[in-house]
Symmetry: C2
Subunit: 313 residues, 2 copies
């Protein structure tokens, strides 16, 4: 058993059991991949993959159990590398933060500017993705820190911390009739076509829930991934926008107006998430601390203890 074999097992499971692809992904030959799998299966005395003739189709039962252990081992191997880097070059390295448009555009710039001032030699990789992609990247170790309003807090393998609280607001073209509506109600909003976030993005869940609980049918004519797109179409007169109020900028968005709707939609919490058991560099803890000053390294480490809910063997 060696690490190359383990990497191949993991990659095979990830790449739909296509060994040619695995070979490419791991920068080696496909024949080598094939042999490694065979060798490992022989050594262990079990079949790891289900075969139909010469094609691999999936994992066997022992293969499934094996994969869990293999992933943990490879994750630990990566942790070792990170740990070593932490000691060999304290303030040099990489940090991958994955987040949604909303955070990247409105919440993070201040944090990142400060971070870069403190750690100029750290290469910061800001990756954008859906909440689901964020979770997946955290789980696969492709990202160190994930930031999103959705999904993150629901996954057991991820430790999450509140970053900031915010509300949705209603954005309308200047002079819109809803500006005269006191108090603003969901019913009133539902008279107009609505433009808001995609399902699963930036508190969309809570918007839907608010309408559903009030028994009001919302006419969502368009959904977008980010507030900039929403604003663009509201400006074009396609409807009224429901979006994070922090994304409204009175100086720039001169053709639009923001209406407070804090009483209509529940508060949202944007979370910072890291995978439990994922080794973080010192500066990664500092990044989190910059996001939320209460979260020092000790607190984060404690909460991200692999503990509480790991998979059974």
């Amino acid at each position: 058993m060696n690490f190359q074999q383990l990497r191949i097992i993991r990659e095979t499971a990830r790449r739909n059991f296509n060994l040619t692809e695995v070979g490419n992904a791991l920068f080696t030959s496909q024949s080598g991949v094939s042999k490694h799998i065979k060798d490992l299966e022989d050594e262990l005395g079990i079949e790891v993959f289900v075969r139909k003739g010469k094609r691999l189709l999936g994992l066997t039962d022992p293969g499934k159990e094996l994969l869990i252990l293999v992933e943990r081992m490879l994750h630990d191997a990566r942790n070792i590398k990170t740990l070593a880097e932490q000691y060999s070059q304290r303030d040099v390295g990489h940090l991958t933060v994955v987040t949604t448009h909303t955070q990247a555009r409105y919440a993070l710039p201040a944090v990142i500017a400060e971070f870069k001032k403190i750690f100029p030699k750290v290469h910061l990789k800001l990756h954008q993705g859906s909440p689901q992609e964020i979770v997946q990247m955290l789980l696969e170790g492709e990202a160190d820190i994930g930031i999103a309003t959705e999904a993150i807090a629901d996954v057991g393998e991820i430790a999450s911390f509140p970053f900031y609280h915010w509300h949705h607001g209603l954005v309308v073209p200047s002079g819109h009739a809803l500006l005269e509506q006191y108090p603003l109600t969901l019913e009133a909003i539902s008279d107009y076509p609505i433009i808001t976030y995609h399902e699963g993005f930036t508190g969309r869940t809570r918007i839907d829930k608010a309408f559903a609980e009030a028994g009001v049918a919302a006419d969502i004519v368009m959904s977008a991934l980010d507030a900039d797109v929403i604003k663009t179409y509201v400006e074009l007169g396609l409807g009224v926008g429901i979006m994070a109020s922090v994304a409204f900028n009175p100086q720039r968005d001169t053709h639009l107006q923001l209406i407070d709707s804090r009483h209509l939609f529940p508060e949202n919490v944007t979370n910072i998430g890291i995978r439990k058991g994922h080794y973080l560099r010192g500066y990664a803890y500092r990044f989190i601390e910059l996001c939320s000053p209460g979260l020092d390294e000790a607190a984060v480490r404690h909460a991200s203890n692999p503990s509480k809910d790991r998979d059974e063997l």
Copy 2:
């Protein structure tokens, strides 16, 4: 980074940083050991061991953190092997049970007889040791199941389950004056020299505690690891014995008599312990179930989830 290097790191830490010994233990040359360490240190870019000139003295800070990960990885590697055996040969393999004399002699024979009937092809290794040694063997993965009254339940990395409850009894030579003593008291016992278990064995802690709390000074003239030795010396007239009452056999111990002392010493619980995260063969779960019928595989697996209290990174 390869497994041999990891094994060498672990073994070096275990063998007091003597590379010659490490070479012997791993059946390889000492020069190879030396080179592997150097290669790994170069690859990681950190010093793992503290050196004074050419001698290794201990682990550096990064080395200490590294060792934790290394041990987990090697443990997972072993788990993979066990997992494979479980699938390749369901009822063939090894099971190492480590326990104290008392359990091996009085509690386990019935269980083991039954187990061997069900799993004739499993090589059962019964190892005797002190409670401390039992804990250590579990932690190092040298034993699968540990059974003892002491120590096991106090270690976080070990999941423990009650096996059976028992009391200490007083053993005296036939015709001894204490046989007439109603009710039996600690004071009365303390008039005689006492022979009982070693510190840290078979409920000795609770015996000491009972005397201490009653403010009675016990004259323990001799301590032994097991009841057979205790009985021998009680028979010789050296004193009265305090030992597990289950270890008294009226048929065989004809020159001795057992006096109930359940009211004097608190009840003892003998525990079954397994290391959390240690992969157990199917028959190991059956062994535990034979010990205590309520403990089925699902229950044991659940409680031995690495979970709850793993080391921080």
